[in-house]
């Protein structure tokens, strides 16, 4: 199951904190993070990589980004 974290409207560090919270809960699998600034997109991607997750996909969506990250079990 893919969890979605909606961090739109929040500025850093909130999107990163929310992503790390999600990572803590999920341990592995796939997660989608919605953000609305380039800064948040970069910071979320950087944070995910530092936790051993991969950034699978970044799609522009509704004036923001849909960042998909994943980690194999």
């Amino acid at each position: 199951m893919t969890t979605t974290v909606d961090a739109r409207g929040f500025s850093c560090p909130q999107p990163v904190l929310m992503t790390l919270d999600g990572i803590k809960k999920a341990d592995s699998g796939e997660m989608v993070i919605l953000v609305d600034t380039d800064t948040s997109k970069e910071n979320v991607s950087r944070a995910a990589r530092s936790q051993g997750w991969q950034v699978k996909d970044v799609i522009e969506e509704g004036g923001g980004y849909r960042v998909t990250i994943s980690k194999e079990q």
Binding site: R8, G9, F10, S11, C12, P13, Q14, V16, L17, L20, D36, T37, D38, T39, E42, N43, R46, A47, S50, G63
Partner: protein, 362 residues
């Protein structure tokens, strides 16, 4: 363009921006800005408050073009790279008050985080207390962040709303051009100028403006933030921004050595006092306020340039805070803290704690 966009998100990107700021901050001092104050966002916004008469401290009045450049440089970068996103509505009144108290704290120390680094890189040992205070304040802020503190979401808004602070800055620039400084005169029509003191010391307008534009552009691209540097290190052990900050200090130090601006010591440092406890205390307050507001004063200017109306409100809070600081005797001088500076730091800390404890969602 995509390659360039990616470059600034890399470690080398943030390092080159830190180096650029460090070298040019030091050179701005060489070209006329006050000692260890090549760039100081707090001091320069305070000088702007003086130039438009929000306070009447005669020695700190000048409509600093660097600040104008920071906002407009960021605006240009945001448009070029399609990152201009007008947004408002994340507790603006709270951000205003955080701006007011951030300025009050910074003026008790006598400098923003950028200047704390520049003072350190110029040999001013008192800056160590300020930097420790800054880290302490940010650390307190991270405790709040960890326990769910946030100021809520922003909303998309009209493009013109995102243009408000850039337009104010353009207005300032026009005033500066129509009412230029007259030799030995404290006033040029509506604008106040300093005939002595730090406000009278400045690099030529065009140089200040160009360096400001360059830094604004690069900082928008790289998300350079002194508060974020420490915050990310404390909160996530993430050193990306910190490498930029460390590079700034190292390059400012090297440039100072080369141009003969490195004078190690504690006493008689330019625009500084030696009251260690209050150098520390002032920056605890400023650091906490920056952390609760999500950015150092420089970063708030760059965010405002890319359309963040809440950051713009923080900036206006800082300018008003500068007026209060000097009108109420809160700001320090080389002789030491102002008559009511200590009381203001305590009140400011209480206000920040109130904000931190009561604005949490979990």
């Amino acid at each position: 363009m995509t390659g360039l966009k990616k470059f600034f998100a890399t470690r080398l990107g943030i390092i080159s921006v830190g180096a650029f700021i460090g070298v040019f901050a030091s050179l701005l001092q060489k070209w006329g800005n006050p000692g260890n104050m090549g760039i100081c966002v707090a001091c320069f916004e305070r000088d702007i408050a003086g130039a438009i008469g929000f306070h009447r401290a005669a020695v700190v009045q000048y409509l600093r073009p660097e600040i104008i450049g920071f906002v407009l440089g960021s605006l240009i970068a945001a448009y070029l790279f399609k990152e201009f996103r007008p947004r408002v509505g994340s507790a603006p009144i709270v951000r205003f008050m955080l701006g007011v108290f951030a300025m009050i704290g910074a003026l008790v120390f006598l400098g923003c985080p950028w200047r704390a680094l520049l003072r350190f890189a110029g040999g001013d040992g008192n800056a160590i207390f300020g930097l420790l205070g800054l880290i302490g304040g940010i650390w307190i802020g991270t405790r709040f962040l960890k326990s769910g503190y946030n100021l809520g979401r922003t909303e998309k808004t009209y493009t013109s709303a995102g243009w408000m602070l850039p337009l104010i800055m353009m207005g300032f620039l026009i005033l500066l051009l129509i009412f230029p400084q007259v030799q030995d005169e404290a006033k040029s029509d509506i604008l106040f100028y300093s005939v002595k003191g730090p406000g009278s010391m400045h690099a030529p307008l065009i140089i200040s403006l160009l360096v400001g534009l360059g830094i604004g552009f690069l900082a928008q691209r790289s998300r350079f933030c002194t508060m974020g540097s420490f915050r990310d290190l404390i909160l996530f052990r993430e050193a990306h921004l910190f490498t930029g900050l460390a590079t700034l200090a190292v390059f400012a130090f090297i440039t100072n050595l080369i141009v003969g601006q490195f004078h190690p010591g504690f006493a008689k440092q330019p625009v500084a006092h030696t009251m260690g406890l209050w150098n520390f205390g002032g920056m605890v307050l400023a650091g906490l306020a920056f952390c609760l507001a999500g950015g150092c004063p420089g970063r708030q200017l760059f965010l405002a340039g890319e359309g963040d109306g809440d950051a713009a409100v923080f900036v206006l809070g800082m300018i008003v805070g500068a007026g209060l600081s000097h009108n109420f005797g809160l700001a320090s001088s080389p002789e030491g803290v102002g008559p009511h500076g200590i009381a203001a730091v305590i009140v400011g800390l209480l206000v920040c704690l109130f904000i931190g404890f009561t604005m949490r969602k979990k």
